[in-house]
């Protein structure tokens, strides 16, 4: 873990939907155990980039390397196994299941018992299940929802559902965590708590790519920021530089005037 190669390398990624060029020649690197903001006006292509990184759809051009290896050939679930986890902009929890069960599904790639083991319920299967449950409870404690473990996930308020999703993503023990607007729907104190959580996650060695419209949050916790506008990267650098960057201001204000 001591080499200094970047964890994620995005190289010349392009993606079009029909006539819409959602991403165009996007290129950047993420250093290990860093927090990286990905910002840009609505429709800039942020979620699309997440979808490309997680393999939901293939890019039209370009390469993605994770921990030094190309992940082009990996399917969605295999990318989770190699260490990329995400949350969704529109929370996508498993509605018929309890909060705890949602987290347990998140552990799928880190647990092993198959169908036959689950029928036989041998000692090691039971042990794995117990460990998984304990770990899931720890994660719920981490996001502060341990008291709601047995509630149906769809019964929680929206902001808390986001936290469940965060815990579910962490359950996959990722090395890279992609967060798509985690603060949307949270109030100010909840947002501050979220900021602390993200810092805490990063301090455990997990690299974070954060899409967030709440600028004060993004600017305060990010080490590095990438700005997208209409599918193109228009700036990259530490928060201080980005705030002073004319192209960025232009992109946001230009949009604002319309």
């Amino acid at each position: 873990m001591t080499d200094n190669k970047p964890l994620l390398e995005i190289q010349g990624i392009g993606k079009a939907f029909g006539g819409v060029q959602a991403l165009e020649d996007v290129e950047f690197h993420l250093e290990k155990a860093s927090i990286n903001g990905l910002i840009g006006p609505n429709g800039a292509g942020k979620t699309t980039l997440f979808n490309v990184i997680t393999g939901i759809f293939p890019p039209d051009s370009g390469q993605i390397r994770f921990a030094g290896k190309s992940i082009q050939a990996l399917e969605v679930h295999e990318r989770v196994r190699t260490g990329i986890a995400r949350t969704f902009q529109n929370v996508e929890l498993f509605e018929s299941m309890s909060v705890l069960e949602n987290i347990l599904v998140g552990m799928y790639t880190r647990t092993r018992s198959g169908m036959i083991e689950s029928i036989l319920r041998l000692a090691h299967t039971r042990r794995e299940e117990k460990q998984a449950r304990d770990r899931a409870m720890e994660l719920l404690e981490f996001v502060g929802l341990q008291d709601y473990a047995h509630q149906k996930s769809s019964d929680l308020p929206f902001g808390w559902q986001r936290l469940v999703e965060l815990a579910r993503a962490l359950a996959a023990e990722p090395r890279l965590l992609l967060l798509d607007e985690p603060a949307a729907g949270l109030n100010i104190s909840e947002t501050n708590q979220l900021g602390d959580l993200i810092l805490e996650i990063c301090s455990r060695g997990i690299t974070i790519l954060l899409v967030e419209h709440d600028m004060s949050l993004t600017m305060s916790i990010s080490d590095q920021i990438v700005v997208l506008d209409q599918g193109k990267k228009i700036a990259e650098g530490p928060p201080r530089d980005i705030q002073a960057n004319e192209a960025v201001v232009e992109a946001y204000l230009g949009k604002g005037k319309n």
């Binding site: 969704f88 498993f94 018929s96 299941m97 998140g106 799928y108 299967t125």
Partner: protein, 317 residues
Amino acid sequence: MQDKSTYILYTIFTLGICLLGWSIDNSYYLQLLIFIGLNTLLALSLNMLMGYAGQISLGHAAFYGIGAYVTAVLTTTYQVPPLLALPAAVGAAMLIAWIVGMPTLRLSGYYLGMGTLGFGMIVHIVFREWSSVTGGASGFVGIPPLEIGSLSFTSDKAYFFLVWIVVLLVIIMCRRIIDSRVGRALRSIHDGEKAAAAVGVDTRTLKLQVFVLSAGIAALAGFLYAHLIYFISPGTFGFMASIRIVTMVVIGGMASVWGALFGASLLTLLPEWLHAFSEFEMVVYGLILMTVMIFMPRGLTRGLLDIYQRYRKHHDR
């Protein structure tokens, strides 16, 4: 939490079987209960696929038939002991399910439906046309009774206990799967396939596994059926038989193990109670399938329970 109530249910279930088995001597009623048991197995098998993997098989009777014909041919034509024929019958169905499921499960839910529909018809044709092996349209006669060691299942009562013990074991097996890592992953596919994959669930492999398991349970029921009545014919395993299984699951409620028992009982008893039923069977099943799915897409018992719960919530306030 869940465990306690589950064990209570198992106990009630076991006591129920014992009570029925010891108190009933009338062979008509015993036969009826045996058929309910077999249908429960079929409903359970399809329920795993429909309720938990969100996929549908419109040819499940074919797997039922494969179980029955494989054991019939092995035990009668080749004198193989039933205990060895059992794994062959179940294994054959599972292998075939794997072959059919491989290509179709990669695609959207429609394709397994169409694939299994066509598959069911072909299997039915094979049973009917391959008369040198299957006995053709007139059926296969002379299947030996089940004898395992010194145990012989020739009386209705013995068969009743055998079938219902198997049902209990299969119920326990299904519940265990559902409450396990694999079962949760399956339910997650039903809730949202895209999200499930994004969380790391290998949806295609899991769906295939459940389909294969489901075919295996259906074949087990077919095995029991063949050694129950010693005679099988293609008519038992046709398209309508597959539809009957789907209807049991739809009535029993998808994703409910106990609902399968209810659906199977109802559809076994209905034709017995209403003798004019056979004329209207298709119309009635068609109406049931359409109305239940339109108004209660998670099945009849589930739908009614949901309505009841909503009503209670409303009144508590």
